[in-house]
Symmetry: D2
Subunit: 376 residues, 4 copies
């Protein structure tokens, strides 16, 4: 469904050719300063057309708050936001291609809904993520006010060019401690903080663009200053909620937290994160952080970090031998220019979904914190 979260909850709507896309955010705490300027920056970061690396179509994506805010303060009531589509004209199916696009959602939407929409797999469109990013910006602002929570996503891989993200390497953890959104953006449109690799990644993308092809990548994300105790045992472990959130982003194919897939070959004696007493913070902490900030499904106060794999974009201009809806073999070549690599643009979406997960988990835990303070 199109709703995510329990206490802090977003519901999104919209596809490519309708009037607008947007969302309703329910459960936003009252009394928080909020204007469209708090939301627009992440929407702008998500926009295509910001550089020659991505599609040249320039969508304005201006957010308009409809409700829930008065005199620049949230009311505690649902905040509806809409972003108008520039291209609101659906085209007739007669104009449409007879081919379901390979690895796109055209075929599965037909199977599920028994219709071919103008936009093909409509809600599989990247425009669906606009509502998420708008909602996430509100969640982020709230989290920052709670405990200075900082969420920073960055590109660690484009195609075969891979930045060091070894969870057993202290220099990677130094990066996690210090990376900021400003640093990420100053690294150029590729949003990879390693200056030695950014150039190569750009070249990698250009190479595939030249071939009318596309390529995938990996976004890594760190969250600092997360309170302890977030996440529920069993089914709603914090990493399970994050995995759910990340695999709900279009084109994502994998998720790993902390040591992830690398960690399976590291023995417990090295993998375990022993404790020590942090004199400055006056609390128990872990010497290493291979767990990724979550143990037993519950945040332990260390950095939460995880990576998300994004496959190469399905829509390419190169000719593809495939079959049409009737099963007749044929050749499909998408018209127009297409974004050869969406991974850098996925960053604000990853950040938004992270913020939504954490805002909800935090609000749930705060009720538990209250409860345990009164029981006896």
């Amino acid at each position: 469904m199109s709703t995510f979260g329990y206490i802090f909850r977003v519901t999104t709507y919209g596809e490519s050719h309708c009037k607008s896309v947007g969302c309703i955010v329910d459960g936003v705490p009252p009394g928080m300063t909020l204007t469209e300027e708090d939301i627009q920056p992440q929407l702008t970061r998500r926009r295509p057309g910001q550089s020659k690396l991505s599609t040249p179509r320039n969508e304005k994506d201006k957010v308009e708050i409809q409700s829930g805010v008065e005199f620049k303060k949230t009311l505690g009531t649902p905040i509806a936001m809409l972003i108008r589509n520039e291209d609101q004209r659906p085209h007739d199916y007669s104009d449409m291609d007879n081919f379901p696009r390979p690895s796109h959602a055209d075929y599965t939407y037909l199977e599920k809904y028994n219709l071919k929409a103008s936009s093909g797999g409509g809600r599989a469109s990247a425009r669906e993520t606009i509502g998420r990013v708008a909602a996430g910006a509100i969640a982020e602002k709230f989290l920052a006010q709670v405990s200075n929570v900082q969420i920073v996503g960055f590109v660690t891989q484009i195609g075969s060019i891979k930045m060091n993200r070894d969870p057993f390497d202290p220099s990677f953890h130094h990066l996690l401690n210090t990376i900021t959104r400003e640093k990420v953006d100053s690294a150029g449109p590729i949003r990879c903080p390693d200056p030695n690799l950014a150039g190569g990644m750009v070249k990698e993308i250009e190479k595939y663009r030249g071939n009318q092809d596309s390529i995938g990548g990996v976004v890594t994300c760190v969250v600092r200053n997360v309170p302890t105790g977030l996440g529920e045992p069993c089914f709603d472990k914090l990493e399970a909620l994050l995995a759910h959130a990340m695999l709900s982003i279009p084109a994502s194919k994998g998720f790993e937290i902390g040591s992830g897939f690398e960690g399976v070959s590291v023995p417990g004696s090295k993998h375990n994160d022993p404790f020590y007493f942090d004199e400055e913070k006056q609390k128990l902490r872990t010497k290493t952080n291979h767990s990724g900030g979550i143990q037993g499904g519950i945040s332990n106060g260390e950095n939460i970090y995880f990576s998300v794999a994004f496959k190469s974009v399905a829509t390419i201009s190169q000719e593809q031998e495939t079959a049409d809806y009737d099963g007749k073999p044929g050749v499909l070549a998408a018209k127009g220019r297409h974004d050869p690599a969406v991974t850098p643009r996925a960053i604000p979406i990853v950040e938004a979904m992270t913020a939504l997960v954490l805002a909800d988990a935090l609000l749930i835990q705060k009720s538990r914190d209250f409860a345990k303070s009164v029981t006896h």
Copy 2:
């Protein structure tokens, strides 16, 4: 929370030292033949002590159906099941170790609940998964009756010994098409279907056991005969639900579906799954299956396959330099014998969670199938 699913829904309970562990399964269709013999086999596969590869403690884990079944037929009402704990005696905290076990849930449970239970991070115990496995067995039986859905998990990695699971290799897809649960079990306790590697994996585990250490692994799972149309666009994409389910299993650190992390470096022209018409099945299918059976969040009828990373077990007998609850440095060595590699035992849990996700998604989609058949 301890509830998973909407229409087919399980709620579990229990920790290590209470009277019983178990679950309530709500939404099980009526009229299905069901006895404890349908459920016991997967519980037995989950049990420790089945070979010298795992912990020697022999839990009986006999399931007792409490409700929802009459004359061996389901009633459509909730099915409660319980499995008695053999060790029901909690021990006093005075008897407990003063050390939070590194990378276990002791510390985070203390932070969340403000107490130190006899079992430490109680619901983080592997015994919590018993209820899931029991519920999954029912879901599996239902799915088999719907469309002969087959769910088979197997070990593809122990430590650094990794079986071929390359999604771009046709021989891997041949394996996915032919592997059965019987073949997996006949491969010995390691449950790796590659006979050339199983022996080495056993040695790998023995090596770490000898060092009083532990090691992780990867479980890969394939689902055959899934109807098209399962999964919801946006937040409840089928892969998102699977990722949620898998990351909710204790010790899991990663999830990838279809091409996963490998796929990010493969260009769209090779990654895309083109269509062809399958004369035998009289339907559109894909020539390759790098998508892993899901496109746009919705099942396309091809094999669903994914892998789950399990870290090395946190509880080891080796001495660990850590700190106690008061922050005082010290050395912790777990008493008793411990399972050096739980990955093979994770298989029935992975299968159960997969079945729970699919049964729920299928029931939701069937209501949509009805609806689209009457609208005009």
Copy 3:
């Protein structure tokens, strides 16, 4: 929260002085013809200012579909709808009354949200119900396509003037079988189908208006052609869902289904609905229908009927001795003209909430119908 339903689900937003009010309807089946003309009539029926009986403010309340519909057919994706507020200017608190309005939501919103919004208890505003009515119109259209479900609400009481709604009187059941929305509206703005009482009810309202006072009423609602099997045992009995829905309507204070409060004094021998075989419909039916179409929480195919009590409107122009926010006693008299009786306008809201409950219950049951057809 602002979300209602599982499979057919609405989320609403908006208060009095924001840009728009509206909703997102998720789970609408694809392929259904739908335009704004399907939705506008019920919105117009809900509007104030339709006669001198209600408030003269003329809100236009034109619905604008944002998404989920293409070429007049639903896509199966979320349908967002918005209705612009004519009065979008919040006023400063300095301009506001210092008095929490008695029996309004000003005080409780302050306690809950710690702020005094321009609209007082913002989401307690009647404008909040606009989104419900828009969503309900879609649910109604779907239900009509499934089995010609007909939902008709009508006024059975204004103040002390009460129409016969005795569940043990066959003539009342004759009315339930024959009443239509057209008949209700042709009865004039009071929407009471008893021509002998409608005039008296109008006079009753005029009397209270003359005193700058207000008065309550009762809406009764019948649903015909409901399939059997809707509703879930235990917590989600169909009457429980309807009660939830009805008590969520502003100003409602009571709900009774079938025999309701009257029925408690009727012995089982008379209250029970015996069965007979309906030759025409070739099915088991009940001779009487004191149950109100639901038994054991599940629809039995007979008419569902229930009544909802609405208290007198809290906002009156008469002076009231009360206290201000600081606790200082004083006299409050609301400015402007106020609707002395909202009961007739509640009808489309009651109908909408009924449709939302039934569409969701029906979609859930259709998945169960499928399931029971395949199990063995």
Copy 4:
């Protein structure tokens, strides 16, 4: 479904002839003293066979806590409880009556589930409520620790004998302020606190018992010391949650809160609850309480009170002219002795459901209280 609540959540299971009935309570705060003695009293109050007024079958209904409690303290993990059924033997359908019992759930269960269970409409059995009562006892204990919340239900009507429950009569509010569970029980098995009526009510029941008939009644419930701010605007108004809870109790047909159905004929000028400053409590309160402690869907700190109508029991020994499952007319007379009036026994169920609603609403609001304390 069989699950109720979000943060404080109960899932129940069980029907008449299975091994046990019970529940899992999830979200119980940790660190609360809890033993079976906290739960048993309400179960015992619910039991039949406590006097000649109700059915003589003596079920023991001993609760056994399975999990979530250690050394008499809650762990914060799910608390499973089971109560063994004494009669665990299902009987074959060949032994069953061929008649669906009028106004029972036999027919609708057959329509929904396509089977005739030994217990007929299994989950419609009164034994289903045992799990609710057990869960409610935990919720009650928590609420008492939060703010000395007191929940007291009592009988205000049996058949045509009706106690004063006029919300506009101060003496009724005096009763609401002073009634205790002890007073209710000391009033004898009828549980009506008006000594002048209790005798007549007993006679009323005896009269119907003599006729092998049954009769209904009304339970009124008051909740004192509820914190302000509970309940959510829009769909989850506190009265909507209570109505949902009450109409989910078997045999309930109506719900009214505060002024209820009586209040519709009282003008706003008299119905409104004006404010005054309570010097003792140093807070704003209302002079009257026709609202029933909830305004705009949110608790205002005054007494919450409401009434629930229970129809006469469907199972009677008197002969009934009805039809069998095949539609053939015939005469049904239930065997055995049956409870002629279950209303007094409904009290602990009403209290339990009230506690479950409030515990959940309170925990949700506490997260909002936290949030509003940190936003700026």
